[in-house]
């Protein structure tokens, strides 16, 4: 670092910034109303400089850490000259407003020192319902965005401190859960105010001029660190193809094609060859594509890189217009999250070719989104569940199970709270034996969650994936088990439903939906796995006796490894493989 940057002041300011972003995140978490925000933590907070560039971000969802640049550049470009102290912006529209999908509502507050713009406090939260054809506003079967709910371009929710009552009333009338939505909006506004107080303190301490110098230094530093990381990666062009199962009863598999080039200190990612947009809600507007690709690369960068926009400079990302990763208006996109996770996987898979020992095998594929609504005893209810839970294996390490997808950092919702608040009963929540991708290091186990409907009427939608194309293994590791959704009637009969059904389902009291995630991919050859580790898994019921034989060639009798039988079985299996 060159003068006039003082390393001590640099650290002090960076520390101050992340403490502000964390405080902003905390305000939302503790005072938000809807479970998807307060328990699943599907939201983000950040502090931006006067150019709208992120200088610090709260530690929430990794895959959303790139979700502010697009909307911020639009705000700066289109509203920069008319911004007043006391303004608060709101937006959710992915077309022309930098949004992601309609449930993600941005609240952004410009911060002033006197009459000088000093920065922005920004928040984004997944709201429980913004209208549209199905409760929860994430229906896959929406054909275009007009079926998905209320679209808000970049508007002023407060203009120079004056509240826009009209806008509040419009929002209130266009959601199935007005109390939750308005409560969460209030939490977001408060969070921005916390950001405002925090920045004012920093300005008071250091002066705005100095602060701006250090903001630039922070971006430059992050860029420099990222370039060094990329320099240490092997140059080359790495192509990878990953898939989405496709929508409806008779799905057509969709391609995510990635060409990743590491060249000196830069990475170029192009999604040429990716499938065209579809008439269902899984099209992914490009902000999340950026975000997910940055996230995958950050996971491979070692050390501490500040969460500011500078680190993105050496990475360029493009996707063909009109593809599922860069759709054109009015493509529906409410359930686009799955695409973001697949972008993460596709980029990770490309990087696996370059540096297998640093990557992770396929995880569960991102959240299974399950929305249910209906009425019971004259009251309506909505529940959105965002279910994650398992990692692929890594060099030297089994996949973690009972963790959030690494691109997210989501929580599960307490079963007892769900049952106390809603006419639902969770029948089962736990790990599925033999579901982790076999390997020298085993993929994490899949999880199962069963919902029984207790209400007079209920309607649900589900979005999942990774049934036809399960999570990949690395370095000879096998794929994890495929995902499943089943509907179980009161007669006890189960029938499979698609990963992404183009419909919502009407249910009666006593019906059960069983969702089973995919298992994590394995790392290295399964026949190389230490028999003692297989035994541990068998004792814990994570691998069955048959699984131990079939997947790992390990014979276990009376809770002990039968060394001779194992040796024989493994050499048989080896020769079959050759």
């Amino acid at each position: 670092m060159t003068s006039p940057i003082d390393p001590i002041t640099f650290e002090v300011i960076q520390n101050g910034l992340s403490s502000i972003a964390d405080e902003m995140a905390l305000v939302i978490m503790r005072s938000a109303y809807s479970p998807v925000v307060r328990d699943s933590m599907d939201y983000s907070t950040a502090l931006c400089d006067a150019n709208g560039e992120v200088v610090a971000q709260g530690l929430t969802l990794a895959v959303q850490l790139g979700s502010f640049p697009d909307i911020m550049s639009l705000i700066v470009k289109e509203h920069g000259s008319t911004i007043m102290p006391g303004d608060v912006f709101i937006a959710n529209d992915p077309y022309g407003s930098g949004g992601q999908h309609l449930p993600d509502i941005y609240i952004i507050k410009p911060l002033f020192v006197g009459s000088t713009l000093a920065g922005y406090a920004t928040t984004m939260a997944h709201h429980s319902d913004v209208g549209g054809i199905a409760p929860g506003s994430v229906a896959i079967h929406a054909r275009d965005i007009h079926q998905e709910g209320l679209r808000l371009p970049i508007l002023k929710l407060y203009a120079a401190g004056e509240v826009n009552e009209t806008l509040f009333k419009i929002i209130e009338r266009n959601t199935r859960s007005p109390i939750q939505v308005l409560g969460d909006l209030r939490a977001q506004i408060s969070s921005c105010q916390a950001g405002e107080r925090g920045l004012a303190e920093l300005v008071e301490k250091h002066g705005l001029g100095t602060l701006n110098v250090y903001f630039r230094a922070l971006h430059d530093f992050a860029e420099k660190r990222m370039r060094e990381e990329i320099m240490s990666m092997p140059d080359g062009v790495y192509n990878n193809l990953d898939h989405i199962d496709g929508v409806g009863d008779d799905p057509i598999q969709l391609d995510i094609a990635v060409r990743l080039e590491i060249k000196g200190s830069e990475i170029l990612i192009d999604f040429e060859g990716t499938s065209p947009q579809v008439a269902a809600a899984i099209n992914c507007p490009i902000p999340m594509v950026h975000s997910a690709a940055y996230c995958a690369i950050r996971c491979l960068a070692k050390g501490d890189i500040p969460n500011c926009e500078g680190y993105m400079r050496p990475i360029s990302i493009s996707a063909p217009k009109g593809s599922i990763l860069n759709p054109l208006e009015p493509a529906a996109c409410a359930a686009r999250g799955v695409m973001g996770y697949r972008v993460f996987d596709a980029v990770m898979g490309a990087l696996a070719q370059a540096m297998p020992e640093s990557v992770i095998a396929g995880c569960e594929g991102g959240p299974i989104l399950f929305s249910v609504g209906g009425s019971h005893e004259g009251r309506s209810f909505v529940l959105t569940e965002v279910m994650v839970g398992t990692w692929g294996a890594r060099f030297g390490l089994d996949g973690e199970e009972g963790v959030s997808n690494p691109a997210a950092n989501l929580s599960n919702q307490p079963i007892e709270l769900i049952e106390a608040e809603l006419p639902l009963r969770i029948q089962r929540y736990g790990l599925v034996p033999d579901s982790g991708g076999p390997g020298e290091y085993r993929g994490g186990l899949a999880f199962v969650r069963e919902f029984e409907f207790l209400s007079d009427t209920a309607q649900f939608t589900v979005r999942s994936d990774r049934r036809r194309c399960p999570p990949y293994g690395v370095a000879g590791g096998e794929t994890g088990s495929p995902s499943r959704n089943e509907l179980i009637g009161r007669d006890g009969k189960a029938r499979m439903i698609p990963t992404m059904p183009m419909q919502s389902f009407d249910q009666n009291s006593g019906d059960i939906v069983r969702t089973v995630s995919a298992g994590g991919g394995g790392y290295g050859k399964a026949l190389q796995r230490s028999p003692m580790l297989v035994l541990e898994d068998v004792l814990d019921g994570k691998v069955t006796l048959e699984g131990a034989r079939h997947d790992y060639g390990v014979v276990i009798n009376d809770n002990e490894v039968d060394a001779k039988a194992t040796l024989d079985l493994r050499s048989n299996m080896e020769s079959l493989l050759q």
Binding site: M1, I8, N15, R30, E401, G402, E419, Y429
Partner: protein, 698 residues
Amino acid sequence: MSAVKRHKIGVDIGGTFTDITLLLDDGTIFSHKLPSTPDDYSKGITEGVREILSVNNISADEIEGLIHATTVATNTILEYKGAHTSLVTTEGFRDVLEMRRLRIPVIYDLRYQKPKPLVPRRLRYEVAERMDSSGNIIRKFSEEDVEVLAKKLQKDGIEAVAICFLHAYANAEPEKQVAEILSRILGPDVYISRSSEVLPEIREYERTSTTVVNCYIGPIIAQYLKSLSDRLREIGLKCPIRIMHSAGGVMSINSAIHKPAHLVESGPAAGVIASAHIAKSVSYDKVISFDMGGTTAKAALIENGRPAKTGEYEVGAGINLSSKLVKGGGYPIKLPFIDVSEIGAGGGSIIAIDQEGRVSVGPASAGAMPGPVAYRQGGKEPTFTDALLTLGFINPEFLVGGEFELDAESAREALRTRIAQPLGKTLQDAAHGVLTLGVATMTRAIKAVSTYQGRDPREFTLVAFGGNGPVVAAEIARVLQIKNILIPPAAGVLSAAGLLFSDVEHEFVRTIFGSRKKMDVKTLGEIFLELEADAYRWVENEGYAVNDVRFRANADLRYSGQAYELTIPTDHKHPNIDKLYSGFNREHEKTYGHKSDTDPIDIINLKLVATIDINNNRNGSRLQVKGGYATSGERSVYFGEEFGEHTVPVLSRNELNINSRKGPFIIEEYDSTCVVPPYCKASLDPAGNILVELEEML
């Protein structure tokens, strides 16, 4: 003839030192520090108690009570040395303990490994039973199944069993019945706890985790406390022995053995209780306690003499920033805790520069061994203490009143070659930079309990203690624009002193959310009556008079749909729902900056805190610390570019008086050092507290 029992003893054990305090009936406190004996802490404690009694010529039967803060509960978990524990739970949910809440405390780290469950999957058993959220039994367990299970547990050599059924907070009967069957077959040597007793609150994972922690450490705590009381009896102590719990009250040995999960933050709570006691004695309503020792800095908020509480803590999560954003790294315990935020910056924190030229202070620590470079125990990496010494903030020649010599030259050399030269700074400026950075880190601990909770630190007085608290307090106050600092007597052993002022306290909780009963004043009153009855039973069991108990009632409320409650005080004899609602709206606005006067509000829990004051005879008495340490002279201290270098007088506490003395100067004591920089003045109040005042600055 037996002696009159009138003196008290406090015992605080840390990884390195055991601090013992003796409070005489005239209010005088003596302190004693000796090395801890980690193989069996009760050995060191007993030795220390014997020494402090004999030095002061006091007989063991003159002691009316001994109060102990212990790290044994925490260490048992951190070192995975707990009992061979099993979990018995509802069919379909054996993995709740392992799935946790999914979130992890880091992002972008593909090598992350989460903490392993305290009960492995093979020892988690399901029972075919089910209740709904109102506690109605949907499926009754079969006694035969449980008997078969008991035999299996017996065969596995299980030492402790945690029972946690879904919705057991609403109906304890099934857990009770299963516990009875298990205990009948497994016998009295197997430690059993059930979730409906340990934590009758909604949220299955947190309740399961808390119950499992309780079981995991139960047999170890039982063994330790038994050994401690045996040894203390051997040296003639006949008084009750009480243990401080994480909420700052004390419990009997019996209760502690039964509910050891309450003990994990026993030590940090003691310092906060001491601060609260001092705050009350000088009538300060708004205080932040700040405790800085060798490895961490801790902060807590105290309003109207009462420390802020929190309902959840993760043991083993490393640094607790009082922020749920970074949760998932440890084992959650959902019980009352004093809300202490902790950050990895202490005297032993290592100063490092990475390849990029970025400087960091901690969280890596040189610990007690090898410790700072100046300790001459083989430490090579400069620490925060080495920087303080270089600046002249602490005595460059010795510690603890001369008992421990320091090697200032090596400290300066390490700082010069490893930090100052790479940064291209003078030694003094580099050392001051380190101070600034350490202070910036530590202010986060204070922000976590103040601004993060909607409190403005500028309205608070900082009570600084611990070996290093008074050294850096002024710098911290300056950054946070706090105007007043109080340095209590015995600042270096304040936690052990705090034990002497604790009350016997226990919280009784009833979750009412989810029950389909309509909540009116009558129902609330009835529930409080039940809690009161529970409390009276407890008072009798603990061996106190029913007349001595005082009650404080609270309710946890939230807007319908929120996940986190705020705790609002109420009157348990005459609960008033409107007042609760308006109190909640006010507190919500204060804490989060917004409220709604129209949204529905849910009452989640009712809580009754029963307190027995065991300090009646101490009221009004004034603290004096014996073994005072007198110093004189002067030394050169560098206060940074802005204030420059000064030759400052080094004084003892007694040289201060009620009239303010302008800084800079230093007050040196046996167990700590108070730095009064040029921008401060300080005086001594009648109770012997040093009051440091920051001057108005631009």
